[in-house]
């Protein structure tokens, strides 16, 4: 096959997997808690800044992962307790409050790091030859890691007892409480996990993009569309949603151009919202 076509296929794979990784945390908070977290992108941004800090300190890149989990998880915990918990079941108010939060987090990043663009060195520079084409090694590794994380989460959610409890709690909270499950604590944990995943995604994209306080804005909207297309509350939905949104985006921009791809994604998202609002896997 034409190596360029193989490259484009890898590009599509890369686009889909990274988008899925970014949307995953949002899917968890939106799907399971019903919280529309407009500040999700800012958690991604914080993760990217963790990578920057590690990079500047000259420490191994992988150290950014625990740092991001610590920072994003910590902030997520505080946010859930102070801001999200009083607003459960008030989705519009949550929207406004998390919008305020996103503003706040951006400004705090600006106070700490300034507004300028920063770059994080690519941990695995260079290209690897795969199926007769050269592809950037770091991107290849990212594809693998993203698939691994999503598959692991998929497997964990599908088979573990904790996943079982989460499904039980989301589906029937009253019965879950009758069984002694601490629903509030689990909601907090879920939000923290969603924040951590965002931070992790931030670390992963940090070497690819300019790291700056406005980084998160680029991701949050597309992530919402992913959820809309895939439907809420299932890992499978996230995978399918990113498949449609990320795949369309990549395919259209490979075939026609970025502007057309962006239009297509918007139009498809609108059609889904309108005609199939419960997503691809609606049942009941």
């Amino acid at each position: 096959m034409d190596p360029l076509i193989i490259t484009q296929i890898l590009n599509i794979l890369f686009g889909v997997t990274t988008l899925a990784m970014i949307a995953l945390g949002l899917a968890i908070t939106f799907g399971m808690l019903g919280v529309l977290n407009l500040a999700h992108g800012e958690f991604v941004m914080m993760g990217a800044f963790c990578a920057l800090v590690v990079d500047r300190a000259g420490a191994p890149f992988l150290l950014a992962v625990p740092l991001a989990l610590l920072v994003c998880g910590g902030v997520g915990l505080v946010v859930e307790l102070l801001l999200i918990r009083p607003l459960y079941r008030r989705p519009f108010d949550t929207l406004v409050a998390t919008w305020g939060l996103s503003l706040l987090l951006r400004k705090l990043a600006e106070a700490g790091f300034g507004l300028g663009f920063n770059s994080v060195a690519v941990p695995l520079a260079g290209t690897t030859t795969l199926f007769g084409t050269d592809y950037p090694t770091y991107r290849l590794v990212l594809i693998v890691i993203c698939i691994a994380i999503i598959a692991a989460l998929f497997a964990w959610y599908g088979t573990s007892r904790a996943g079982l409890k989460i499904k039980a709690m989301v589906g029937n909270p009253d019965l879950a409480r009758a069984l002694g499950m601490p629903v509030k604590r689990l909601a907090t944990t879920t939000f923290v996990v969603g924040s951590c995943l965002a931070g992790l995604a931030g670390v992963m994209v940090a070497p690819l993009v300019p790291v700056h306080p406005y980084l998160g804005l680029d991701y949050v909207i597309k992530s919402f569309f992913v959820l809309v297309v895939g439907g809420l509350g299932s890992v499978l939905g996230v995978v399918a949603g990113t498949g449609v949104i990320g795949g369309l985006d990549s395919v259209m921009s490979a075939l026609f151009g970025s502007t057309q791809a962006y239009f297509t994604v918007l139009v498809v998202a609108i059609l889904f919202l309108w005609l199939k609002p419960r997503g691809l896997f609606a049942h009941g």
């Binding site: 484009q8 507004l115 300028g116 770059s119 060195a121 050269d134 993009v209 502007t259």
Partner: protein, 355 residues
């Protein structure tokens, strides 16, 4: 006639400041302003939004220029006072800020920064490199499209070919893997880049990570120090930028400028770039114009502009008609610094200092 002028600048990122302000202000303002005491200059700089990263540099350079002018006796004998105002917000907000400068602060003059077109430089690059095929990538808006139209005519005049042309939406989250792959397939000699801001960084990083930086030359038309910082050392190989100012320009004027900045701000010198340099030039341009015209009346200022010379960070600029002739530089990126490789002298820019 309004007793002020707008020194135009080409829009960059979200702050569409000067051009927009120029569009609205004449209708909104009809009141004469008392002209005694300090000579107030409204300084339109992006203080919020993504473009705000250029704010400190603009402000610092303008302050330096104001100090220099004041030390030399001020404008029409009056000391300059700078009033910074935010140009990073939505257009109506920016316009409002300008009006506020007029009505509330009663400023004499509003300046924004300006940069210059460099299309002639394409030709020089082409000839120097012996490049034959070109690939054009830009943001989907007027400036990039116009620049590329011009570039294309120079390329065909020089016997080159266009291997491809791409536009990505402005203000959307863009990915560049697909485009870089197409460039890889097209195998051009040179890529002309008119994407700006974060897109500029993303494109160049993706480009280098696919290993294309070794064989393909990149020439960017709006690539200054901050953006290069984002692109990073490992992705800036074989990347050229052509602009009216680089912090590393070796000219005597720039050494003096940099020393003066250092003296004024010490360790806290803001990142110098073409945008800051434009603010510096703007203040000097204003002084020269108003001093020569003897007033801020538009007609007098227009008459005074012919043949006017004023100090810029890169050297002395001269106005011909309503254009500014100034030196342009072609620089090669070395890690995250620019190294000037060629100077084009007295290039006439498309638009500047309109009254």
């Amino acid at each position: 006639m309004p007793p002020f002028m707008i020194i135009d600048r080409r829009t960059m990122l979200a702050g569409t400041a000067g051009a927009l302000a120029a569009g609205i202000v004449p209708g909104a303002l009809r009141r004469a302003v008392a002209a005694d005491g300090e000579f107030k200059i409204g300084l339109l700089i992006p203080l919020s939004g993504p473009a705000a990263l250029f704010g400190p540099s603009n402000q610092g350079c303008a302050e330096l220029a104001a100090d220099e002018v004041n030390a030399a006796g001020g404008v029409l004998g009056r000391k300059i006072k700078l009033i910074p105002t935010d140009a990073g917000a939505a257009p109506a907000e920016v316009a409002k800020s300008v009006v506020r400068l007029m009505l509330e602060e009663k400023v004499d003059l509003v300046i924004g920064s300006h940069d210059s077109a460099v299309r002639q430089a394409v030709e020089a690059t082409v000839k120097g490199k012996g490049a034959k095929s070109f690939y054009l990538i830009g943001n989907d808006y007027v400036w990039a499209r116009n620049s590329n139209e011009a570039a294309k005519s120079y390329i065909s005049a020089g016997g080159g070919t266009i291997a491809g042309e791409e536009y990505v939406p402005l203000g959307a989250p863009n990915r560049f893997e697909e485009i870089v792959t197409r460039i890889k397939g097209a195998k051009p000699d040179v890529v002309l880049i008119t994407v700006i801001g974060a897109d500029n960084v993303n494109f160049n990083r993706a480009f280098a990570s696919f290993g294309l930086d070794k064989d393909i030359t990149r020439l960017a038309f709006l690539l200054e120090e901050n953006t290069l910082q984002g692109i990073g050392a490992e992705s800036s190989g074989n990347l050229y930028s052509c602009m009216a100012y680089f912090a590393n320009v070796g000219s005597e004027a720039n050494q003096k400028f940099k020393a003066a900045m250092k003296a004024k701000f010490g360790d806290k010198v803001p990142q110098l770039s073409t945008l800051g340099a434009d603010a510096y030039a703007g203040v000097h341009c204003a002084k020269a114009l108003v001093d020569k015209a003897g007033s801020t009346e538009a007609a007098a200022v227009a008459a005074a502009s012919q043949g006017l010379s004023f100090a810029t960070a890169g050297g002395t600029a001269t106005m011909t008609g309503r254009h500014v002739d100034k030196d342009m530089y072609l620089a090669l990126c070395k890690a995250t610094e620019f190294e000037v490789v060629k100077t084009f002298e007295k290039i006439a820019s498309g638009q500047s200092c309109p009254v």
